[in-house]
């Protein structure tokens, strides 16, 4: 029996048992489609997060006091119980590299803020104009913190949009005085609403010059230092420069942690990549379930068609020929399922992508290939048992039944 004829015969058998075949194709296609849609969502989430990071500027390094990371040579160091503080002088020292374009020291605390008889306890962030650039903060009115000498204590402040609304309502605020702790500061700007940054809600914060914040909290230590590298390629040199400079300044002790946004992004990438694999795996399980279904249905088909199998043997079909016929039937079912599943999966991905245009939902090629191959392989694997059962049927017994 020729290959094409066997396929035709198997196909005729499939169309002969239409309902059964449609149900099987459905089960298979659900498996393939779910692999495609689930991995599509996973990849979409990954693309979305990378996109968000890119818009933040991925050339950023964050210097945090204390070693929170150990690993490599670092593990040999004993971490001091109280790490040396980061100071303004450290921040100034970090400016002296061609790889560094901007440095923004950050002081974080909280204080009682009052104006017009209203009073609130609000996070207070001390920094410089550079932080606005690094963080892509925009102002809805006024100007950002003053440029120039980091050490200069100037009594001015920029308000988050929520602070402004709660303390002043709709009243004009530029040039007004704000009491922060025991000091008075002139309001020079208001931030445009939006987002979180450095773990602080930028809508609910008062920004003051870094030296002013140090005076306010009566402490010279910095919460962290934000460093912007000049280019993507300079992230690593900048990181080395920061580490070496601070070690030198801290008597050879490596007591700071430098996080690059690249590293954070890579971590996210890893987590979301694993997530994609996991959900893809769940889809693949549904494929295997479909494969088991196919096996059962094929077993039923074999017992339904015993007489037909006996007849084929009497007409001179070989054992291997019968084996082929039933194997082809299972594989055809699964292939059809894969084709329908691909169409359904594509439609689903397309529907998701048009519902959430900001998330780049798309099935990765590898997931599609994996889904289809799992479908076909399960078809073959789970088709073997019924096909062998058919091929091993004794023709006399098979034909003796009506």
């Amino acid at each position: 029996m020729k290959l094409l004829e066997s396929l035709r015969f198997a196909f005729q058998a499939l169309t002969g048992f239409r309902l059964r075949s449609i149900l099987m194709v459905l089960a298979m296609s659900i498996g393939v489609a779910s692999v495609m849609i689930l991995t599509g969502i996973g990849e979409g989430a990954r693309g979305y997060v990378s996109g968000q990071f890119a818009s933040l500027g991925t050339h950023m390094l964050i210097v945090i006091p204390g070693r929170t990371e150990t690993g490599g040579a670092g593990a040999a160091f004993t971490v001091p119980d109280t790490p040396r503080d980061l100071t303004l002088d450290d921040a100034i020292a970090l400016r002296r590299s061609a790889h560094v374009s901007m440095v923004a020291p950050v002081v974080l605390g909280s204080g009682l803020v009052s104006a017009k008889g209203r009073e609130r306890d609000i996070p207070i962030l001390g920094s410089t104009r550079e932080l606005f650039t690094i963080r892509h903060w925009e102002l809805s009115q006024g100007t950002a913190l003053p440029e120039g000498d980091l050490q200069r204590d100037t009594p001015v402040c920029v308000l988050g949009s929520k602070v402004r609304k709660e303390l002043f309502g709709a009243d004009p605020v530029l040039g007004e005085w704000l009491r922060v702790g025991d000091r008075r500061m002139r309001i020079i700007g208001v931030l445009r609403p939006g987002g979180m940054s450095v773990g602080v809600d930028v809508d609910d914060v008062v920004l003051v010059p870094v030296a002013t914040a140090q005076a306010l909290f009566n402490s010279p230590s910095l919460f962290r230092i934000m460093v912007s590298a000049t280019r993507r390629e300079s992230i690593e040199p900048a990181r080395r420069f920061v580490r070496d400079t601070l070690r030198e300044r801290h008597q050879g002790e490596e007591d700071v942690t430098v996080i690059t946004q690249d590293a954070v992004l890579a971590t996210f990438d890893q987590i979301l990549g694993a997530l994609t694999l996991a959900v893809g795996g769940i889809g693949a399980i549904s494929l295997v379930v479909a494969g088991i279904l196919v096996m059962n249905v094929m077993l039923v088909a074999v017992s339904q068609r015993t007489a037909e199998i006996g007849l084929l043997k009497a007409l001179g079909a070989r054992r291997s020929g019968i084996l082929q016929l039933f194997l082809y039937e299972a594989v055809l079912l699964c292939l059809l399922g894969a084709v329908v599943g691909t169409l359904v999966g594509q439609a689903g991905v397309w529907a998701l992508a048009s519902t959430y245009p900001q998330v780049p939902v798309a099935t990765p090629l590898w997931a599609w290939i994996a889904g289809v191959s799992v479908a076909v392989v399960t078809g073959v694997l789970f088709g073997v048992l019924p096909a062998r059962r058919a091929a091993d049927l004794d023709p006399v017994t098979a034909l003796s039944r009506r």
Partner: protein
């Protein structure tokens, strides 16, 4: 053409042995027309299955055209069945989802005959059994006699040397049974050896040679 020597066929049922055939010797020449009769359970079907290579003897030898075929492997047996032997069954055994033409075509497909030639041969074969106009009907659209004639067309389309029919009229009324028998006898006139198992004495009497079986043995074998 056919020679059986000392054929035994023993079935093991539980711890009991059933001698379906005992020491059967038989010779069949080209184009013979033979009827096999005997009480139920006498081994008629078992003998036919052995002759058709659907079953193997427990002991004894089977020569087809002077070649010992009792020990052939699966592929060779299949080939022999396809080329030399045709079957007609009591229950027709047509594939229900295929048309009459599709059923008749099956042996040609199994043998790898090209589609154009297949088409021609199926047409001729259906015409021979008087069903040229029913080629595209499915079995459930045919009468019992017509179904059996489709089955005969299928059994003979490979031009076998031996046609084995196990109670071919057992499921048919008198008239269509007679039709079917006429078709079979016409084939036998063309040189195909025909062996018919039957319970109908009238049919048995029409054959040129009558074999009678009892308890797995051939008790009489005579020309008539």
């Amino acid at each position: 053409m056919i020679r059986l020597e000392g054929i035994d066929r023993i079935f093991q049922v539980g711890d009991q042995q059933v001698h379906a055939l005992s020491q059967v010797d038989l010779e069949v020449g080209t184009g013979e027309y033979i009827s096999i009769m005997g009480p139920s359970g006498s081994g008629k079907s078992t003998l036919l299955n052995l002759l058709g290579l659907l079953d193997r003897p427990t002991s004894g030898r089977y020569f087809l055209n002077d070649q010992d075929v009792s020990g052939l492997d699966d592929a060779r047996q299949a080939y022999t069945r396809r080329r030399y032997i045709g079957f007609v069954f009591q229950f027709f055994h047509l594939v229900p989802r295929l048309t009459a033409a599709g059923n008749v075509e099956l042996p040609l497909i199994l043998d790898g005959v090209a589609p154009a030639e297949r088409h021609e041969r199926v047409k001729t074969s259906l015409a021979e059994v008087g069903l040229a106009d029913r080629a595209h009907h499915r079995p459930d659209q045919l009468s019992g006699g017509q179904r059996q004639r489709v089955a005969i067309a299928r059994a003979t389309i490979m031009r076998p040397q031996l046609l084995l029919a196990d109670e071919p009229t057992g499921n048919l009324d008198q008239a269509s049974g007679a039709d079917v028998l006429k078709v079979l006898e016409a084939l036998s006139d063309q040189g195909i050896a025909l062996m018919v198992v039957t319970h109908d004495a009238n049919i048995g009497a029409r054959a040129h040679r009558a074999i009678r079986m009892v308890d797995g043995r051939i008790v009489s074998d005579r020309a008539q």
